[in-house]
């Protein structure tokens, strides 16, 4: 642990900026959970000591500038194609640790085909899917993950299921595929859930490092500016409405399945 001397007293530093982040301050809106997500990813990368062989893939969306904030190699890719580029990078450099950082407009709308097939092929990449139920960067249009009844600039009367359909649930969709090793949905609404999210992201990176298969962590995030709320209300909305529509939990865990397969069946004995 780092120590610092302030006014003649020696202190341990319990919390500071992780090594895997650059010194550049985040350009996200005040209260945006992108910053929290960046921080916990950087902490996990520091703890696993994989910064020197990490390659990140920045998608299109608010997260397009994430290459400015992470202190390792980054590729900026066309809209929705992050997992396709990650597949190529991983196959050319099998020792690299590949991370894609994608929003819901990127992964669940234009990139659905890439996502499903990368998962089905069992690519050894880790995908961080930040779901805030809206297109944040372009000004708050309706995304595939927008909740029913939610007002956006392209659904001013609220999302209507008979006309536009229901919010897409990526974690539930991907978990039955055999290529998936670890699929979890976590939330960012309080400190307890942020720590749970960190544990899930660590496990997702472990799935890649142990060559188990595709891993994805869906992070329920906020967008207080386009939801027209204060940051505190936006966090409350995530806690009450988002987690109700997108249940939290681990949808696929290859270690649990291996453990269950090893145990002898009790009924036959």
């Amino acid at each position: 642990m780092d120590t610092v001397t302030l006014e003649g007293t020696e202190y341990n530093v319990l919390a500071k900026r992780p090594e895997s982040l650059t010194d550049k301050p985040f350009t996200y809106c005040p209260g945006c959970n992108h910053g929290t997500t960046h921080k916990i990813i950087a902490e996990v990368i520091d703890e696993l000591d994989i910064q020197h062989r990490c390659i990140g893939i920045a998608s299109v969306g608010c997260s397009v500038f994430s290459y400015e904030f992470f202190d390792f190699d980054f590729i900026s890719v066309p809209h929705g194609r992050a997992l396709a580029v990650a597949t190529g990078a991983k196959r050319m450099r099998p020792n690299a640790v590949l991370m894609t950082y994608q929003g819901d407009g990127d992964l669940a709308a234009i990139g659905t085909a890439e996502t499903i097939h990368a998962c089905n092929r069992g690519e050894r990449v880790t995908c961080i899917f930040v779901n805030n139920a809206i297109y944040g960067m372009t000004g708050g249009q309706m995304a595939p993950t927008t909740l029913l009844g939610m007002k956006t600039t392209t659904s001013p009367l609220g999302r209507d299921a008979t006309r536009i359909g229901w919010p897409i649930k990526m974690s539930e969709m991907l978990s039955p595929l055999p290529g998936a090793a670890y699929i979890a949905r976590v939330s960012m609404h309080d400190a307890k859930h942020i720590l749970k999210a960190k544990a899930a992201i660590k496990k997702a990176f472990r799935a890649q490092l142990e060559d188990k298969g595709f891993s994805m962590v869906e992070v329920l995030s906020n967008c207080n500016v386009n939801w027209h709320m204060t940051p505190e209300d936006a966090v409350k909305f995530v806690k009450e409405k988002m987690t109700e529509n997108f249940p939290l939990g681990v949808y696929k865990d290859v270690w649990e399945e291996e453990k269950a397969a090893k145990q002898p069946k009790k009924e036959e004995g």
Binding site: N12, A15, L21, G31, G35, A191, I194, L195, E232
Partner: protein, 76 residues
């Protein structure tokens, strides 16, 4: 005594740390502006109530909070 340091120029004044602190030591005083033109929160702890639980630093989206805890000297 554990204590925290708020980096004024990194803080964007989203106020998410205020409900996170169990001892209510972080306040939105609006006493000063930072170089972004935003009001950073202020840490007020005259009685030394901070326990170094790091909850404020965990919820801070801009990594603007550092948490320090005094090094315990081993008595010989």
């Amino acid at each position: 005594m554990p204590m925290i340091e708020i980096l004024d120029d990194a803080c964007k004044g989203c106020l998410l740390c205020i409900p996170a602190c169990p001892h209510e030591l972080i306040h939105n005083t609006k006493a000063k502006l930072n170089k972004r033109g935003l009001y950073p929160v202020e840490y007020v702890d005259p009685e030394g109530k901070c326990t170094g639980c790091r909850l404020c630093a965990i919820v801070c989206p801009d990594v603007a909070i550092r948490v320090y805890k005094e090094v315990k000297k081993k008595s010989a």
